[in-house]
């Protein structure tokens, strides 16, 4: 099976690189966008299997991206995982209402992120490569 494609939309370059390293180690292919506008453009170009989306972005925000994607039938079906430093409740509700599959709060636990990705892609949980040092956050 070809490796699944994941688009990472986050304006923080360090976080993009960190996610890329972790996802690559788990056999995912990654693409990037650093603002809301190119988020939609890259999604159009690469047709990813999944999008990891930050909420606070230049040129719009995560909600703008979700709204635009939802208007394009071929892109509307791509599962979206929102990963944001914004506070839970309100944004979480809004993200789900906008069609997000999951909402994770930064700083993200990589184990959790991988589990949510697998769930959203319909992959069995068993194929997970364990991350030894990132379990639990007290």
């Amino acid at each position: 099976m070809d490796s699944r494609k994941i688009l990472i939309v986050d304006d923080n370059a360090d976080i993009r690189l960190g996610m890329h390293l972790r996802l690559k180690a788990n056999q995912y292919q990654t693409f990037f966008a650093a603002d809301a506008f190119s988020g939609v453009a890259e999604a159009r170009k690469h047709r990813p299997d999944l999008i990891i989306l930050d909420l606070g972005l230049p040129a719009g925000d995560g909600f703008t991206v979700m709204e635009r994607l939802s208007q394009i039938p071929v892109l509307a079906v791509i599962p979206i995982i929102v990963v944001s430093a914004r506070d839970g409740l309100g944004n979480q509700k809004r993200a789900y209402a906008a069609g997000a599959k999951a909402f994770l709060q930064k700083p993200v636990n990589d184990d959790e992120l991988l589990a949510v990705i697998r769930q959203a892609l319909g992959e069995p949980a068993g194929m997970k490569k364990p991350t030894l040092y990132d379990q639990g956050s007290v």
């Binding site: 976080i15 960190g18 972790r22 506070d87 209402a97 909402f103 993200v108 990589d110 040092y133 007290v138």
Partner: protein, 525 residues
């Protein structure tokens, strides 16, 4: 400058008293006061609600209202309007009591000097205005502080995410293996990152504490499980410091009524604190037992062999930002933990306190109510309803199109669902039971209603309609269905005490609930 005419509402049923009051204003400049006189509380409520009244003079003995209740009603109809009580000599105590219910002042009839009344009114209005202004400023300040805290914790999270990501990437050996020493140092980094993360969460939580936004969802849960979780989580930190962390739990403890995540949080804060203030080679012990002073609660105790708390500080340790300024202890917190802890305990119906003799360690105790179905359904079985009672168990099932609800969705939706359900119930006849730990593919909500099959049907319809129109459930792709089951009519036997009766009814209800839960688990394998 022309002074504004002050609109005075006089609520008084004695025409003679009203005439006297009017005369007291006769010395005032024309147009400075305008008196409106009403005899009944019901009329006054309508008048007040319309607005435009600057001050109310209220007699507490009216044809349709009496005593402190009239004060509450007047205050409720127009909370922003200052209120002065008119009272006879004999009920001065009552008038003083009225001051605590929102009245600005009281005046004793027959002792009011004619010139004094208009002046008293002006003062009352001015005082009330200043109070309102101060309250508004305070509200704004609190709001600003909460927004600030929320903003700061948000800004800190992003860089912390990157730090954590790369540390774990290195530790997991993604770019290649490290030598043991490098690994050890990075583990120290990670430990500190986690600590920083928890401090940021504290900051964020505390802005939630202030505005009451912290989510607490009580359910029937096990205290020993929460203790085991806390011990496992903090064992590492204890070992590093050479502290022996252990739990001493009384066997066969009953379940408690608490939010499991919040219960774990309470214990973690207390144990973490204890480890922090205990020197190497000390001990930290968690105990759980039924509370001697109130057998309807469990008491959880975290005791340590640390430096103890000075007597003059023990009353203040649950205050926000309080730090026991002990020079021997390294401060590693914001002084928010115990404050959050107290809020969480109190909001789950418990109490928290500390006890310490300096130099002999400290003991933190928190009580948590024991889960009791009989006690929960008691409000529906009031003393007046003693004949045969029809009882119906209404079950609402929340599911998803995929057939399985994730924990995340459960956590997100439960509170909202409970609010929606509450809106469909009669508060004195129906009881929405706390969450059950069904662990099945769906989330179940149970309502015990004092009604027969026809009533049960009606509740189901109401709930179905309300949930059906919920945009939120539709958008989240959630499904719902509501059904009911009737219990046999329950009659309280003449020899049976109310406690025994409730116990018996609760047992039948519990059986039905278990039945509903297990049927879902079987159905979905």
């Amino acid at each position: 400058m022309k002074e504004k005419t002050l609109q005075v509402l006089v609520i008084e049923d004695n025409a003679g008293d009203v005439r006297l009051l009017r005369e007291m204003f006769s010395g005032e400049k024309p147009g400075s006061f305008e008196l409106t006189h009403l005899m009944r509380m019901s009329e006054a409520e309508i008048h007040l609600a319309k607005g435009g009244v600057d001050i109310t003079l209220l007699d507490m003995g009216l044809p349709d209202g009496h005593g402190i209740d009239t004060v509450r009603r007047a205050h409720a109809a127009a909370p922003g309007v200052p209120l002065i009580i008119l009272t006879g000599l004999d009920d001065e105590a009552l008038a003083a009591d009225a001051m605590t219910q929102g009245a600005q002042d009281y005046m004793i009839k027959g002792q009011i000097e004619s010139r004094a009344l208009p002046r008293a009114l002006r003062h009352a209005i001015e005082r009330h205005r200043m109070q309102a202004e101060t309250d508004l400023i305070r509200t704004h300040q609190m709001q600003f502080k909460d927004e600030f805290l929320s903003h700061v914790s948000h800004e800190l999270r992003s860089p912390l995410t990157a730090v954590r990501q790369f540390v774990t990437i290195l530790l997991d050996g993604l770019p290649g293996e490290m030598n043991p020493e490098q690994r050890q140092y990075l583990e120290i980094v990670l430990r500190n990152v986690k600590q920083l993360h928890s401090m940021i969460n504290d900051l964020f939580e505390v802005s939630g504490v202030q505005t009451g936004k912290l989510k607490v969802e009580p359910q029937c849960t096990s205290a020993p499980d929460a203790i085991a979780y806390a011990v496992n989580t903090l064992q590492g930190a204890a070992v590093l410091k050479g502290i022996i962390l252990s739990a001493d739990i009384e066997p066969k403890l009953p379940s408690v009524c608490a939010d499991p995540a919040r219960l774990r949080q309470i214990l973690i804060i207390l144990v973490d604190n204890a480890i922090k203030f205990t020197p190497p080679n000390g001990t930290v012990t968690i105990q759980a037992r039924i509370f001697d002073e109130d057998p309807s609660s469990l008491v959880l105790e975290v005791s340590d062999s640390g430096c103890g708390i000075e007597p003059d500080k023990i009353g203040r340790i649950f205050e926000r930002l309080f730090q026991a300024s002990d020079t021997s202890a390294v401060h590693t917190g914001l002084g928010l933990g115990l404050y959050i802890c107290k809020d969480l305990v109190t909001r789950q119906g418990g109490k928290i306190w500390a006890h310490s003799a300096q130099g002999e360690g400290a003991v933190f105790s928190a009580t948590i109510p024991i889960f009791s179905l009989p006690k929960m359904i008691a409000p529906a079985f009031s003393e007046e309803r003693q004949v045969e009672l029809p009882i119906t168990l209404v079950v609402t099932e929340l599911g998803s199109q995929t057939g399985w609800l994730s924990d995340q969705i459960r956590a997100d939706q439960c509170q909202g669902m409970r609010d929606l359900l509450r809106g469909c119930l009669h508060s004195d006849l129906d009881v929405l039971l706390p969450r059950t730990d069904s662990a099945g593919p769906v989330e179940l909500f149970f309502v015990v209603a004092i009604t027969d099959g026809i009533g049960g049907e009606a509740i189901c319809k109401r709930i179905g309609k309300k949930l059906g129109s919920s945009e939120h459930l539709r958008l989240a792709d959630l499904t719902h269905s509501t059904s009911y089951r009737s219990l046999e009519a329950c009659r309280r036997e003449s020899i049976e005490s109310k406690e025994d009766f409730l116990e018996r009814v609760a047992t039948s209800i519990q059986e039905l609930m278990n039945d509903e839960i297990s049927s879902r688990q079987v159905k979905n394998g």
